[in-house]
Symmetry: D2
């Protein structure tokens, strides 16, 4: 069976989440700079093809709990909450990253024809 638009929207959604995670995890962050990093991550991933919408939110409680004596920490996977919508031709995928069972889970919420 040939590769479909539905396959591609799922594939492209995966690419963006994998890219986001491995590009930005490790970046130094504090409570004061979390908002700036959230916006830059969303803007950066949002310029890529097929991204219709994306929001990124960093867990302030986890940031606070991992602050070092120097008052900062690094972005860690579990801190990431991401919701994104991709469109490829007539298919739309809603996907996300959410901390689940001790693990930053990447998942598909819904794929639909539009």
């Amino acid at each position: 069976m040939a590769v479909t638009a539905r396959d591609n929207v799922a594939f492209e959604a995966g690419i963006k989440l994998g890219a986001l995670y491995h590009q930005f995890v490790g970046a130094p962050v504090s409570l004061e700079t979390a908002a700036s990093l959230e916006q830059a991550i969303a803007a950066s991933i949002g310029v890529q093809p097929y991204v219709k919408a994306i929001t990124v939110s960093l867990d302030r409680t986890m940031i606070r709990e991992s602050l070092s004596a120097f008052g900062y920490t690094e972005l860690k996977g579990p801190m990431l909450k991401v919701d994104a919508v991709m469109q490829f031709k007539n298919y739309e995928a809603s996907v996300g990253i959410k901390y689940t069972d001790g693990y930053p889970l990447m998942f598909i919420k819904e794929i639909k024809e539009i």
Copy 2:
């Protein structure tokens, strides 16, 4: 329509390629160390769930042409040739990264039920 195993194999394949690219692009590399980096990238991405097979090959000609006066360069997207096979339940996806039209293209070759 509910999310299917076929959707998930495409999504997981995308995650791995996005991760590979954004984790390792930028790593210093020379002609002498290209083989070590190829193997480590394949081994690293290969430990992730659903990866059945992966091969990574770095374009030696491009590496040679981008060497700085110091005899090394950085891994750049166009140098990457990747072939990977993912399995999710009863679906298998063959995907890759290949330099095409001046761009490191990520693509699905085939998805099939197994």
Copy 3:
């Protein structure tokens, strides 16, 4: 001879520039999102210890010239212009990254006792 404050200010300055470069090079960027990425990079690196001041500017001409058909590119080393001041005890180092002779050069401008 024991390790001095002057040694440490140079060492810490190097750490920050190496971190900045390898954390953020590869991030997707367009003309519209360059400002957001500049601010987030400066804010992120600025939370680390010993950073007194940092400014990051991304070369818009280089971004424009590397835009893909999809209207975006990736942050590349040569696009980075960075000026930073570090302080360690009574020593201050002014350092930077600047595109020089085809290479994103990291350099010390001045180290002084304060």
Copy 4:
């Protein structure tokens, strides 16, 4: 006072440790692939200018303790033990990364004229 060879060896050593950390932290790793990743990191950073020697060792106990249900984890800063020697002109710096007080500390062991 002008920038000296001693300043530069400390600065270059810092660059390499910052680069190593932010390039490779986040890479998927398991007990089976840790050796391959260690070698690739050392080889990659070792191609850069002024690096005379470098060894990288990843803490197997920490890797084992952070394995997810899928049998892998990600390289985290505390897992890194690095020893490196840099040379710049007639100065040599011995530096490292070592998990200390809950923090992956980067430090100068010694700088000497050679």
